[in-house]
């Protein structure tokens, strides 16, 4: 069953960004929303979550209610200079569960600490926010999302500015959390590796080229589809049981060719 579904949805800020689209988040699935910078991924995400009114079509909640969402924003959008401890930030995730007029209690602090331990940063609970590294900050934001006891975990560009090893560790963590908490995951990213090994379904988005396609990961990581998305030649190959994606020269008809510029490899 879908947790949330868009039908013939026209998304955009006053002006449609993409052609009318159908998109659902299935229970237990990992949906990767993939596209270049400025492709309209955030608008799509906001529409999916009901934060951006649709210009047309409709948003359905097959469960009869909105799913509980744990959200991990892009960490560079947050101000690390606030005089908050890690525990203060994770406790924010409990706010919707507590409701107005109720303060966090011992139980909430316990759950927040458990979330931190589960993410592998339990020892940071009392540390000030400004003292964290970028990777630690990212994990704290994931812990906050888990502390919200979500059904749907949404991550917005979680691996941007990460080296490949850190990216892999983070995605494995998300995969582990998904299994442990029986989550559905929406992963918004412009990085192919973040999708290749972890998503079960992929939505390709690019408002500039008018692209929106969604389907199973194997079907969507097709060189022709990716070429259309990136405007460059793309090669996809299986290497040692992993998916290797090479983005190279400008695709035929889009200008002169050159040597490969990006190699992305995943399992």
């Amino acid at each position: 069953m879908d947790l949330v579904r868009l039908e013939r949805a026209v998304i955009g800020y006053r002006v449609p960004l993409l052609p009318p689209l159908d998109l659902g988040v299935k229970a237990g699935s990992t949906l990767g929303v993939l596209g270049p910078n400025g492709a309209g991924k955030t608008a799509l995400l906001k529409s999916l979550l009901g934060l951006l009114p649709l210009l047309g079509g409709r948003r359905l909640l097959p469960q009869g209610r909105a799913p509980r969402v744990g959200y991990v924003p892009q960490r560079d959008r947050l101000d690390q200079s606030w005089p908050l401890t890690v525990l203060d930030v994770v406790l924010m995730g409990r706010t919707p569960l507590l409701g107005p007029l109720h303060r966090p209690r011992t139980h909430d602090r316990k759950r927040a600490r458990e979330a931190l331990s589960e993410i592998g940063v339990g020892d940071l609970a009392d540390r000030p926010l400004y003292a964290l590294s970028g990777g630690q900050h990212q994990r704290v934001l994931i812990a906050r999302a888990i502390a919200a006891e979500p059904e749907l975990l949404v991550l917005d560009e979680p691996t941007s500015a990460m080296d490949p090893a850190a990216e892999r560790v983070l995605l494995e963590l998300v995969e582990r959390l998904k299994r442990a908490h029986d989550l559905s995951v929406v992963l918004v990213t412009h990085q192919l590796t973040a999708v290749a090994g972890f998503a079960t379904e992929v939505a390709l988005v690019d408002r500039v080229r008018g692209v929106f396609e969604v389907g199973p990961v194997r079907q969507m990581l097709d060189p022709k589809k990716l070429e259309r998305l990136y405007g460059r030649e793309v090669r996809v190959a299986e290497v040692g049981g992993q998916t290797a994606i090479v983005i190279g020269s400008v695709a035929a008809g889009n200008g002169s060719g050159d040597s490969p510029t990006e190699v992305e490899e995943d399992r």
């Binding site: 800020y13 979550l49 934060l51 909105a66 969402v69 744990g70 959200y71 924003p73 959008r77 947050l78 101000d79 200079s81 606030w82 005089p83 908050l84 401890t85 203060d88 930030v89 406790l91 924010m92 995730g93 706010t95 919707p96 507590l98 107005p100 007029l101 303060r103 966090p104 000030p128 400004y130 906050r144 919200a148 949404v154």
Partner: protein
């Protein structure tokens, strides 16, 4: 010692204005932590100015209606009382500042700046209107307060709005903190961001409006910025920051009032100078760390 004795001997004169200054400083220094962290320090100046428009507008309407403003409650219909106009205009500005412009180039601080500029122009235009030329000086006092003498009614008003404001913050502190720190996540998780931003800004607007009339625009602006900034530079926990900011505000108001009394200095300016001294430890700390 004789200066203090003289000061103490005159306590009948300063008890009320000093209390008003300390109370305003405590409230504003608390709210200032939110204002500074949300990077909206100009909100305070704009709200002071906008509530001033309300006062000036009340006098203008009274003049047009042929009502003598000096007769106050005996002669002015309650709907023309400058206090109500001041609160109304400040609240409208508070609502305006809570709205998120749907234009990427129009940041919230731009909206606040526009509010400040428009309010300043309106105050100038109304005060220079021939209709209230004779009242301009009196209007100026009402507009920007006078920390030397504060009517007890204004202390009562400050106590009332302060109590309501603090109660609201006590009840909704976690929501106000969440939407102030990370409104994007708060809205995704179903916390009513617009609602709580509105509550936060309305509390700030009402307290600034009442405090401006009691102690003046300059100390109000200063108390919403300086104590919080001084506290933030030397603390790492939010509760410590709030406690220190409030303490700095209270001490600055009290010591500033005393200094203004014994040195015959303007009261508001004296309070601001004392508050500014509390920035020194934080600046020294930054220098020691080599981050300046």
């Amino acid at each position: 010692m004789s200066a203090f004795n003289d000061f103490w001997a005159g306590r009948e004169l300063w008890q009320e204005p000093l209390f008003a200054g300390v109370l305003a400083a405590a409230l504003l220094s608390y709210l200032g932590v939110f204002v500074v962290l949300k990077r909206m320090v100009f909100v305070s100046a704009a709200l002071s100015e906008v509530s001033g428009v309300g006062v000036a507008f009340a006098f203008y309407v009274s003049a047009v209606a042929g009502v003598d403003p000096h007769t106050h409650h005996f002669g002015i219909p309650i709907l023309l009382d400058p206090t109500w106009f001041s609160l109304l205009f400040a609240c409208l500005a508070g609502v305006l500042f809570s709205l998120r412009p749907g234009h990427r180039k129009l940041a919230p601080e731009t909206v606040v700046g526009i509010g400040y500029i428009a309010a300043s122009a309106l105050v100038l235009a109304i005060l220079n209107s021939p209709r209230i030329a004779q009242e301009a000086h009196a209007v100026g006092d009402i507009l920007f307060g006078n920390a030397v003498t504060v009517p007890f009614s204004q202390i009562e008003a400050l106590l009332a709005v302060g109590a309501v404001g603090l109660l609201i913050h006590a009840l909704f502190f976690k929501e106000l903190l969440f939407v102030s720190y990370d409104s994007e996540t708060a809205v995704v998780q179903g916390v009513g961001v617009l609602r709580y931003e509105l509550v936060l800004n309305l509390v700030i607007a009402v307290i600034i409006s009442v405090a401006t009339r009691a102690v003046g625009a300059l100390p109000v602006f200063a108390f919403t910025v300086v104590p919080a900034a001084a506290a933030l530079m030397v603390t790492e926990r939010l509760r410590t920051t709030i406690a220190l900011s409030v303490a700095i505000g209270i001490v600055s108001a009290a010591v500033g009032y005393y200094v203004s009394w014994v040195e015959s200095l303007p009261t508001g300016a004296s309070m601001v100078i004392v508050a500014s001294l509390f920035l020194v430890p934080g600046l020294l700390r930054l220098l020691r760390r080599g981050t300046v």
